[in-house]
Symmetry: C2
Subunit: 336 residues, 2 copies
């Protein structure tokens, strides 16, 4: 895997996006989102998403310009038709609007339909927290997760992220309601490495540790019945609020041809907050259990990885880096 | 265990609460909350809480009359000082206020400090959903859960509940972010039954299956690092919004002498909603995995148990039922 300077990764992403017809501001935001995930070690939400995005623009199922249509249905509620705009462009415009509204209302939410993949939710939670507000973020996805006690993928990986200022810095957590990501399943399959038991089912709905079989099957909800209940609740809430597709009808973030019809939800809370940084310090000082070297605070490992990547460069998977170079070369050809 | 008609359990709870100085409307709400949990099979949040509540009133750490002081800090944000009022009385007054506000604002939240234990969050989610709105509910608790990779109880069991109308009925899920409840640990200890591995640590922070040792130790977050991240995020968010106590400083729902200093948060969303009942039907029709008889919808088993309890009576633990009869007898003596 090549160690690529962040500036070089950034520059190549910009070139590819610009050549695909993405305006500079939109390109910068989309690039920041993908690079941020890549640098935090979440490659599944990183630069490997870029080639598909370019294909989607070429296929006419992604509009690189629009930031979505806004419709305030109540003083605290923004409904957004993403108009197949770029995920971070639609999401950030919506968050900017509800953050401004929350300054007077205290709380405001954005319910978004028809946006492209909005990427790692923690990206937005980090930014809102850094601006002194709280964000609760949700998103749905294609059906990849089996209901607890079921055999087939029926529910999205449906992540939640929460960000808030702590009084000294920020706290941010971001987790899918699936036990692993389908990206990790593909990664295991590509490397021929088996999955741990209990993570996935094959296409017939039987437990498997064969990652190649799991690709056509379903991954488990995290934490059994509880994670299933959470993931399902998020999907029902987001679908009810947006009128988006649900379950196996959700399409458009894992293919290059279908419009995106999943849902996203952001809730911004703008209030005077009591400091909680001291409690995080207490947690860091706790004695670790056997097999652990420390008690970790969610989000901090990713932040440390990002800091190091900015200094030392980003380890990018060979296949992803080669693909980006190919795309950048074609971009040059078109320009010439 | 005696099978007690619901009307008889209701009547005895009313008598005990009234004798303790609880006004009739407040007594009815407190009784409904405890009976609802009892009937749904959640005995840990049921009638066994009643004797402690009476002690707390007698000890002057619970005010049986107040419904809390309301302070709108923004059009969408209600801060509530629970003034040590009864949990469901403070919670329901707050929910009524924000539900009315959400009708015009679209979304409103209540951040509550200093209320007694508010009981099963699903009770409120059910009622709000039945009234055609969405509720997201959170609460913190005494530190009973160890951080992932830690040895000591530092974090509450911090439940979340989500309720919404589905177009045909309601959906409600309610789960703690701990893998089991401390009530279940006590129940295992009382019956001398070991816990499954991975559920708890002893007082030294070592894994144990001995429920008696686990009582003085810590229970695990559900789903490992992910459940820890969720539970911690909820506790930070609620503490930041309410200025309540955090971590091991939280007191008052498991003792009879300390004021309650945990936090509660309700978010009500009032919008036109797309129907999602059809998707729940699809889930119910899914083929079950090996070892399961059906794919279940969260909340439905509890609802069915409640329906049967209303018809056939409620199975109440001997020790709880005897204690209630004692309390009711003393109540009569006082009256005479």
């Amino acid at each position: 895997m090549p160690l690529v300077p962040a500036s070089q990764a950034s520059e190549i992403a910009d070139r590819i996006l610009t050549a695909a017809g993405v305006p500079p501001d939109n390109a910068a935001l989309q690039r920041d989102l993908l690079l941020d995930a890549e640098m935090r070690g979440i490659a599944s939400h990183g630069l490997l998403r870029l080639p598909r995005l370019v294909e989607r623009i070429a296929n006419g199922v992604c509009d690189p310009v629009t930031s979505g249509r806004h419709d305030w249905t109540a003083p605290g509620v923004l409904r957004v038709d993403g108009q197949q705009g770029l995920g971070p462009v639609v999401a950030q415009a919506a968050i900017d609007a509800i953050a401004a509204r929350a300054a007077s209302q205290g709380v405001a939410l954005a319910a978004i339909a028809n946006a492209q993949h909005i990427g790692m939710l923690g990206f937005y939670a980090d930014r809102v927290a850094a601006a002194g507000k709280c964000l609760i973020a949700f998103s749905t996805s294609e059906a990849l997760v089996h209901p607890w006690g079921g055999r087939r993928a029926m529910i999205g990986t449906n992540p939640i992220a929460i960000g808030l200022p702590t009084g000294e810095g920020i706290f941010m957590m971001d987790t899918a309601t699936s036990i692993i990501s389908m990206g990790e399943v593909h990664d295991h399959a590509n490397r021929g490495v088996p999955l741990a038991p209990g993570l996935a089912l094959d296409a017939e709905g039987n437990p498997t540790t064969d990652a190649a079989l799991a690709r056509d099957g379903a991954i488990a909800p995290f934490g059994g019945a509880k994670g299933y209940a959470l993931g399902l609740a998020f999907e029902l809430l987001l679908t009810a609020l947006t009128g988006s597709a649900i379950g196996r009808e959700v399409k458009g973030t894992l293919d290059s041809t279908e419009p995106c019809n999943k849902a996203d939800l952001f809730i911004v809370i703008d209030q005077d907050l009591a400091p909680v940084a001291g409690f995080l310090d207490l947690l860091r000082r706790e004695a670790p259990a056997a097999g652990f070297s420390e008690v970790r605070i969610p989000g901090e490992r990713g932040r440390e990885l990002r800091r190091r990547a900015l200094e030392d460069g980003i380890l990018i998977a060979d296949v992803t880096w080669l693909r980006l170079q190919d795309l950048a070369a074609s971009a040059e050809t078109i320009k010439d």
